[in-house]
Amino acid sequence: MTFDWSVIWTHRQALLEGAALTVGLTVLTMLLAVPGGIMLALMRLSSNRLLQSASLAFVEFFRNLPLILVIYWVFYVMPMAVEFQLSPLVTALVALVLNISAYNAETFRAGINSIRKGQLEAALAMGMSRRQAMFKVVIPQAGRRILPVIASTWVSLFKDTSLVSVIAVSELAYSAMQIRAQTFRVLEMLTAMAVLYWLMGYPQAKLVDWIHRKYGVKE
């Protein structure tokens, strides 16, 4: 078995573009899924029964489905519902945002709930409005507890973007698989793909550990 590692250098352009799209998808998804998660968490914590159950149903639904299936479902079913075909990239983004919003919603809800009730009551007793109490007392404390979890979600999101390769979004995994199919350099391309993911993911995983050490709350 001879290996020809130069194939990686020949196709560096496509691989780097794929890696850039992987990062872009991660950033864009998180930018949309944080407000999405906050909205779902607020719905869940509101006093309106209907909003509560809608949010609960959304969160439980997307947390209990394999992401790859959500991607397929959005790809095949949504065009029928909205009457036109979205580009694969937008489809991928929709699926990722739906999934990550559900996880973020749980994170925000748990973070806000973890602040003892007494703190809110004390703030209200001091004459703060509900809004002030939330924004000056509860949310700053909750933020510290939420940050490490969001960081972990970030890394799993980064990895999960590889799944959108199944609907031909040319991120890193798809690009590498395409080049593999064209050149038949299976081992070289797949190893290059793994190494590129590792190079990007490893520092992120380490950063998450650091955030956990710095901001993690020891009970």
């Binding site: 397929y72 079913v77 990895k159 973007t161 390769s165 593999r180 081992l187 797949l190 990007m200 490893y202």
Partner: protein, 221 residues
Amino acid sequence: MEFDFSPIADNWRFFAGGLGVTVALSLISAVTSILAGLAIALLRLYGPGWLRPLLVFYIDSMRAIPVLVVLVWMYFAFPLFVGFTFAPFWAAVIALTLHIAAYAAEVIRAGIESIRPGQTRAALALGMSRAQLLRKVLLPQATIRMLPAFGSILTIAIKDTAIATVIAVPELMHRAETVAGQSYRPVEVFTAVMVAYFAILFPVTRGIDRLYHRVAHLGRS
């Protein structure tokens, strides 16, 4: 728009087979991951010093690489190294185990470390050996504390089996793709399969929550 669920009714045996493969793959991967994770965690805690950085490197690498990448590498690239091919099912078991065991190892290590050091000292003072200490004092309490995390490992295993479709493991997701392609009814097929996955996963997550609430007091110290 009209719905036609007949492809699902016509192919129910095919889907049931896929469901069986999904369940088998999930259970085998979850069990092997937890066993491998236990071995890794124990070696990291009590093993020789030179092994520790290697295990930490392995764990962090698995946290950095997508499971899809591990899967395709294991199935397509690894055989070129060693000269023999795995069946897709076993390639998936190996890849999922490699990936999930890293998470399981972290869960188990954190569980063992969460038991207060006083208990270890007390057990050693009573004349227990290290093995007895682990078996009779640390692991029983840690296991209960780890239950919710084991629950997430099981759900992750079930969800990750769907990714095995890319190496053509004939599990539920793969069969859905096949039938959707043949019948031109992707909406009905993928929706039905969605319901099926939800029906497997929801009771698992809820069941483990329930179990934990029932036994949580046994893990308090």
